[in-house]
């Protein structure tokens, strides 16, 4: 139930945003819990964006893994 899915903000009006879950699946979600602008990625849970995501951070996670795994060699 704590499932949350990344989506891209396509348009904004007040607390509502139209987001794209990928492959053209669009839905209106509430964005009052985050500071996000058009083009940002957010994590959506039960109709509410609960966190903003940065692609940079996504990539950093991967290099974190590589580091950790390399350090353990």
């Amino acid at each position: 139930m704590c499932l949350a899915i990344p989506a891209k903000i396509m348009s904004l009006s007040g607390d509502k945003a139209n987001v794209d879950f990928g492959q053209g699946v669009l839905r209106e979600v509430n964005v009052s819990l985050v500071d996000a602008k058009v083009g940002d990625y957010v994590l959506v849970h039960a109709g509410y964006a609960i966190q903003t995501l940065e692609e940079k951070e996504a990539l950093e996670t991967l290099s974190l893994w590589n580091d950790i795994l390399a350090a353990g060699e």
Partner: protein, 366 residues
């Protein structure tokens, strides 16, 4: 394909998974066991769906704690919703809540008997319907951990219409984790903390686990690589004799969590003791609407008293499954008297319940 979709493929890379599994093997103790507990239905899904347990050495065990917010709603709180539905109030809820057994039937049973019970995807949808049908009384059964509670807070604070109220069953995860540490023979060596609860609450609420209980604690995401990494990080800590709080999921979890969401929750709720199905009363583990919002608190609005409910039916072992003491397979009813089509216990109802996850995945793998 978006770059996030591309990333998620990396997070499922079988070669990377094998490499991590090798590292875990190399670090696992030669004698004794490492028992790791997660507290999230989505983690259990990832683990069973991708068969991650089969990648781990025999003495590294991952067990599922109370990670299904629907499963741990006590029967008494389902009874309240059923009572209201029978009285003619329109009860709105998430799909998973519909079939959760109360003491005398579920909301689905009430619906079959003619009550108006409607499934919504989001609390905002429930409000929308209430606005469209102003001559009916609406209640939203607000179930969920810290991931979900902020959305209830937003709407409770956003001037709901007069014909709308909340029947809150929100619960907090860290107090349940602390309770597990008191269950003597569980002997947990490390925690995998739930990533999306943590997206809201941040890292601070977990600090006590390494500091006071010397329990390695790793906040983790939900892809197979995330979970394997968390296991690796815990096994590494155990092998080094350290106990730290680490964040495997920085792409979502910031140390401070989501301050806006926390502020909303704090404005809308006070923290009280709460009953958990199969576990009992846990101090400081439930959210209750603040006095200033009592007009929107269904319990106050309809003058309801929480009574004792029948949480566990005869023969159901949910109370042991929920705290990770037994695996679903060890319940004599599993896939016999109790199946996803005809669930007996709450753990078989919700898509995040451990029994349901095992029924859908392990049964296929044999």
């Amino acid at each position: 394909m978006s770059s996030f979709a591309a990333d998620s493929l990396k997070f499922r890379n079988p070669q990377l998974a094998q490499n991590i599994a090798q590292k875990i093997k190399a670090l696992a103790p030669k004698k004794g066991k490492v028992k790791i507990c997660h507290v999230c239905g989505t983690h259990e899904w990832t683990i069973t769906h991708f068969g991650l347990r089969s990648l781990l050495p025999e003495n590294v065990e991952v067990i599922a704690g109370p990670g299904c917010p629907v499963c741990i709603v006590p029967a008494a709180e389902i009874d309240e919703a059923v009572q209201l539905a029978r009285k003619g109030v329109v009860v709105t809820c998430f799909g998973d809540v519909l079939r959760v057994p109360g003491s005398e039937g579920s909301l689905l049973d009430a619906k079959a008997a003619g009550a108006d019970v409607r499934i919504v995807y989001a609390v905002s949808d429930a409000l929308q319907i209430a606005k469209q049908e102003p001559d009916k009384e609406f209640v939203f059964s607000a179930v969920g951990f810290e991931t979900t509670a902020p959305s209830t807070a937003v709407e409770a604070l956003g001037n709901p219409p007069k014909n709308f109220s909340f029947l809150t069953s929100h619960r907090l995860i860290p107090p349940a984790m602390e309770l597990l540490l008191g269950v003597g023979d569980l002997e947990i060596d490390g925690f995998i903390a739930p990533g999306h609860v943590s997206a809201i609450i941040g890292l601070k609420p977990y600090e006590l686990f390494p500091r006071i209980y010397r329990m390695p604690t790793v906040v983790a995401g939900f892809e197979p690589i995330d979970v394997l990494m968390a296991v690796y990080m815990i096994v590494k800590q155990v092998s080094e004799g350290t106990a730290l709080l680490e964040n495997e999921y920085p792409r979502v979890v910031k140390p401070e969590g989501n301050p806006k969401a926390l502020e909303m929750m704090n404005k809308a709720f006070t923290v009280t003791a709460g009953n958990w199905r199969g576990i009992g009363r846990i101090p400081d583990s439930a959210l209750q609407l603040r006095e200033s919002l009592s007009d929107y608190d269904a319990r106050q609005k309809f003058g309801m008293r929480v009574k004792q409910g029948k949480d566990i039916l005869l023969g159901c072992e949910c109370h042991l499954v929920i705290i990770g003491k037994i695996k679903p397979k060890e319940c004599p009813m599993f896939m016999k008297a109790c199946t996803p089509a005809k669930p007996v216990g709450a753990c078989m109802v919700s898509s995040e319940g451990t029994c349901r996850v095992w029924a859908k995945n392990v049964a296929v793998q044999g």
